[in-house]
């Protein structure tokens, strides 16, 4: 039988067909309900935050470092896009319509839902051992050799083995840990650092980042990192089989072929 890796208790190994022409398949559980529900809520929130964030950004596509910055000061960089404000010199002969009203409403509502869902996921992850069992690299994987083997496999575009469909490889584990424990906390922190009332109560939220405009610029860079993660995540899912993996994240079950012994 195939090596199952760190699969959570199999649902029941049902040999569906035994005719020799059709390979036998096995259904086993892969993702818990809480992981699946929070995954899709966060996916929805992330898209809402991304779209509304881009809309808000269009009203001032210039970035500064430090505490302050306006169209009268020199930006660190600016995006070569038109703006929704006539105040901003963009080089384009037109001004886009103002979408900041609904964008800001949607941005903060989605942020609330994402943060609350993320907290639920984090508490669940610590208490059930989800982080320890499914995301922390196993002892055998905590070596440069295992790490470089995984990278080499990815660079050769090797399709995941049956065993890998049941568990995460070391690169996936490290990437998910980075996204969950570094990028998401950073995007929330840099966002809160732009709230004037929040920083009035906790000034170090913004001073530690080097000022309000630094927080805004970092918020943009962390967004870019999260979008990069999303793109790679979706590409990898497509390589592994888009419908199969998506179905697994919805139903929680995975169907794998069984090798005959």
């Amino acid at each position: 039988m195939a090596e199952l890796g760190s699969v959570q208790a199999p649902l029941g190994v049902g040999v569906l067909r035994s005719a020799s022409a059709i390979p036998a398949t096995m259904v086993s559980s892969r993702h818990s309900v809480l992981v699946r529900v929070t995954h899709w809520i966060i996916t929805l929130c992330f898209f809402a935050l991304l779209v509304s964030g881009v809309e808000i950004l269009i009203s001032h596509p210039r970035f500064y470092w430090g505490e302050t910055g306006t169209v009268l000061t020199t930006p660190v960089f600016k995006l070569p896009i038109p703006s929704s404000r006539a105040l901003v010199p963009t080089g384009y002969g037109y001004v886009l319509p103002d979408q900041n009203g609904w964008s800001r409403h949607l941005h903060f509502e989605a942020a609330w839902i994402l943060v609350l869902t993320g907290l639920l996921y984090a508490i669940f992850g610590f208490f059930t051992g989800h982080f320890r069992k499914n995301l922390l690299p196993g002892k055998a994987d905590r070596s440069w050799r295992a790490f470089s083997t995984a990278i080499a496999g990815h660079l050769r575009f090797q399709r995941p083995t049956e065993a890998e469909a049941q568990s995460y490889n070391v690169l996936q584990r490290l990437t998910y840990l980075l996204v969950i424990f570094v990028l998401f906390p950073l995007i929330i922190w840099t966002g809160l650092a732009m709230s004037p009332t929040f920083v009035s109560a906790l000034p170090s939220t913004v001073t530690l980042l080097g000022g309000r405009q630094s927080a805004r610029t970092l918020h943009f860079f962390v967004t870019v990192a999260l979008v990069f993660f999303l793109l790679v995540h979706v590409v990898m899912i497509c390589l592994a089989g888009f419908w199969g993996r998506t179905r697994t994240m919805i139903t929680g079950r995975i169907r794998t072929r069984m090798e005959r012994t």
Binding site: H60, T68, A86, E109, W112, T197, R212
Partner: protein, 252 residues
Amino acid sequence: MTDLSRRKMIISGLAATAGVSGLGVAAHLAEKYGLVPPDHGGIYGLGETLTYASQRLLARQSLAREFPRSQISNRPLANQIAPPSEAFRRLQAGGFIDWRLSVDGMVDRPGSFSLAQLKTYPSRSQITEVACEEGWSYIAEWIGVPLSHVLNLVGVHPQARYVVYFSIEPDWWDSMDMADAMHPQTFLTYGMNGDELPVGNGGPLRMRVPRQLGYKSVKFITHLTVTDNLKRFGKGLGSAAPEAGYAWYAGI
């Protein structure tokens, strides 16, 4: 029906009743303690209410960050506004000598103040940042009289909940709760960086609410009304901002 299923039904009924009434009690308490913003309706009401309620619970008395003089921006941005109205230009031609601030509503002594009168009250200054919802920000020294001083002069009724403030420019008005109205950094501002407040930055009189985004700091203030109910103003959403799609509370 077996005992077990009857017990189950009773328990789930009780749980559902407790849940619904729990939400009802929470909503009632939130309303009673002023944690519900006037624009709480619609699909974005949840986010707005969570933000306003949590910031009122956790940061009612907090002070906006103040900066050293060395951090004052060299060029405070006077962002574009529509061309001034006829009424404004007439007062400007007279050097704003006839500019008046009228105060009415739930107060003991409604009145009207000239700029010269406002300047006789204890003057305060703060070096704080104006942060626009668009993303830009600058730091300036703002000089004026705390709004609380004027409110204490006219005698605000204890049941008052909001101060509504109006610009001389049509359809430009806003409101704040008493936590912000009595806040020591909320100023009726008439000076900037040691000088008169320039027209481009809201002169001769601008409301400064430094714990909220720039759009809450309405320019060219001529009128204040103290009230316990925002439903009577405009579309009842608390300010002109929600009527244009923006949030009433701009503390985020």
